[in-house]
Amino acid sequence: MQGCNKGARMYRYNDIDQAIVDARVTQFADQTARYIDGALSEDEFKPLRLQNGVYIERHSPLLRVAIPYGLLSSAQLRTLAKIGRDYDRSYGHFTTRQNIQFNWVKLEQVHEILGHLAKVQMHAIQTSGSCIRNVTTDHFAGVAPDERVDPRPLAELMRQWSTLNPEFAFLPRKFKVAYNGATEDRAATGVHDLAFDVFRDATGEVVLDVKVGGGQGRTPRLAVTIKRGLHWRDMISYTEAVLRTYNRFGRRDNIYKARIKILVEALGCEAFSKEVEEDWAAIRGGPATLAVGELARMTAFFAPVAYLSVDRADAELAPLRLVNPRFNAWVKNNVSGHQRAGYAAVTISLKPSNVAPGDATSEQMDAVADLADQFTFGQVRVSHHQNLILADVARRDLLSLWEALDEMGLGSANAGLATDIICCPGGDYCALANAKSIPVAAEVQARLADKAEEIGPLAIKMSGCINACGHHHVGHIGILGVDKKDEEFYQILIGGRTDTKVALGQIIGKAVPRDQVAPLIGGLTDFYLDNRTPDETFIDAVERLGKDAFHDAAFGPKKEKLS
């Protein structure tokens, strides 16, 4: 299978990359064997398996596989489908970090799975653990009409540098990096430990604004800008200074206070930035400086394909949309703009009803891989919304594509709507969850299904515990599972968003039992429908009418007002 990504517009391993990933498979097989024979203790093995994406979940070990910045070739997707069939229960779960995880693996088989992954230039390195995690970016990178700079070449440089980085393999806590190169922030950079906004300066050079200290979890914080206009050649040395400052001074005495956001807040943005600058001054211009030709070399991997020129596609589509309302809704919600005339980026919703959000069967993965080959140059992306993207579809092919997707149960026309819920695995799988997530998301979906189209854009995000894997802090509506004396309760948040106007949501009302969640959210959306102005989205209405008004609509009037 080597060379399977040849021709794909993505980074392709050279002999160095391949040798590193192959060596990791051998190393992990050895580590697992030493754990099984008792040479490594439970505590000694745990960080090693986590740094290879292996969790021990509630009912089984889980393997999380890295999908760097969410980009997959069709051959890679077929391998994931096969792993699902051979080592799991014929499905996989796409995560909010653009990765995939297999929920039912056996520990002693993980190294075999890693071997299969290595053959298609994939791995599970640093998908968990207190280290630099999988780098993420805009799922429309390279095709978005509002893009300034394609961030993927820089993300790949960061992926390489962060992979098996010896100095930063044991940080105080996990460390998540994101890139955005477009006007609209689709990468949720405001809630990352380290994030880069990529621009071109007046002379055309690629430069970055650097933000640190964002994150969700127990102490949600928005990232603050500590550097503007950093030249791309200094990206690695500056990051090294940020990481060294965090590695040395981040708190290690309490795991809940160990993320970089706590350090940035404790020192203050200016003092933190000063520490970084001092360290950077000593290494700036040194060997970590990226070579002059490096960005061009990396950018060539992601060069646009030979697009066809397609005329009058929309004129041809119009009558097809008129006679097929389901197709029409799909085009409206799941088809996004593209830099090239006649092309579109298509979102394949993994949020049909009665399926855990983000799950795809092996059969569906194979089918999507085939459709990617047929319609979009053999490439698939994973979005942090837990959907799949076909980024380069000729608009004249949209109907054929939708028909094929619909046949596989993948034709849901709900991208960006209330039923496109982001949801963590929750108490059904996760050993740390306070409450179940998947059935709650299903109840909310069912409640809103008939009105979702009328409601329009609405991001509902559900986490089963305070760790916030389901991003509840930044949902227009967030749902958080809490444990009250061994009973599952849920708190509702409102007003969060991840776009350029990033904001954290606020809790409204008391935590409620599960059966009240969907009716309450129905109350919030009904209030919106009754009070919105023409073309006003849900989140805009929250900002205009205030969170109190929504609280009162759902919970009844309260005395103390929210800010």
Partner: protein, 208 residues
């Protein structure tokens, strides 16, 4: 009785046996895990979370083969070098929360700098070793002491450590081999090894 490993430009080797006090003793033997139980998951993991992590205030080891270690603070507070003089130079030990840059201008008389790993998962030691090599320009021995385990050796070697007081009770042959776990690296580090991006820039790499 544990062993001291040394790393030279070409390879790692067992340098010598270490005296008591120069290495961390082996913990109690591990029970072998029951794979069937592991594969059945851990159930509710929440009770196992212990958010508070206590840290020691004293280094894990007190000795090296040249005598007793001198704490960083003691060294900086010395009246004159003679009071702390040892035959092979003084062995200064730095704890992971301490600042090695304080040694700037205070390196004369030191024979060895040891960095303590109270826990193998304490990544601060690697940053400290890097600073000792790159900021202080220290060319003599930098030793990892304390909870020094096989699976961290490759990383430690890359960050500038060139000697390793293994925790007792480990497979020494496997430890020596660990320095070769990866044939290539992606970063410039204190070991000066040629790294992937540099390679890519100078040589036309073969696509896999």
């Amino acid at each position: 009785m544990s062993q001291l490993l040394k790393l030279t430009a070409n390879s790692a080797h067992v340098a010598r046996a270490l005296p008591e006090g120069a290495f961390k003793p082996a913990p109690d033997a591990n029970p072998k895990p029951d794979l069937a139980l592991v594969n059945a998951g851990q159930g509710d993991g929440r009770p196992k979370i212990k958010p508070n992590v206590p840290w020691p205030t004293e280094p894990t080891v007190t000795q090296w083969e040249g005598g007793a270690f001198v704490r960083l603070s003691e060294w900086l507070a010395r009246a004159n070098d003679a009071t702390l003089a040892q035959a092979d130079g003084v062995g200064v030990i730095i704890m992971s929360h301490e600042d090695p840059i304080a040694l700037e201008g205070n390196l004369d008389g030191i024979g060895l700098i040891a960095i303590d790993f109270p826990r193998f998962s304490d990544g601060r030691g690697n940053s400290l070793a890097n600073l000792v090599r790159t900021r202080l320009g220290w060319r003599k021995e930098v030793r990892a002491v304390g909870d020094v385990l096989i699976d961290q050796l490759f990383f430690m070697g890359r960050c500038g450590f060139d000697s390793f007081a293994l925790r007792d009770g480990q497979n020494v042959a496997r430890a020596v081999a660990a320095f070769n776990d990866f044939p290539h690296v992606y970063q410039n580090n204190a070991d000066g090894r040629t790294f992937g991006l540099q390679d890519n820039d100078s040589v036309q790499r073969v696509a896999a």
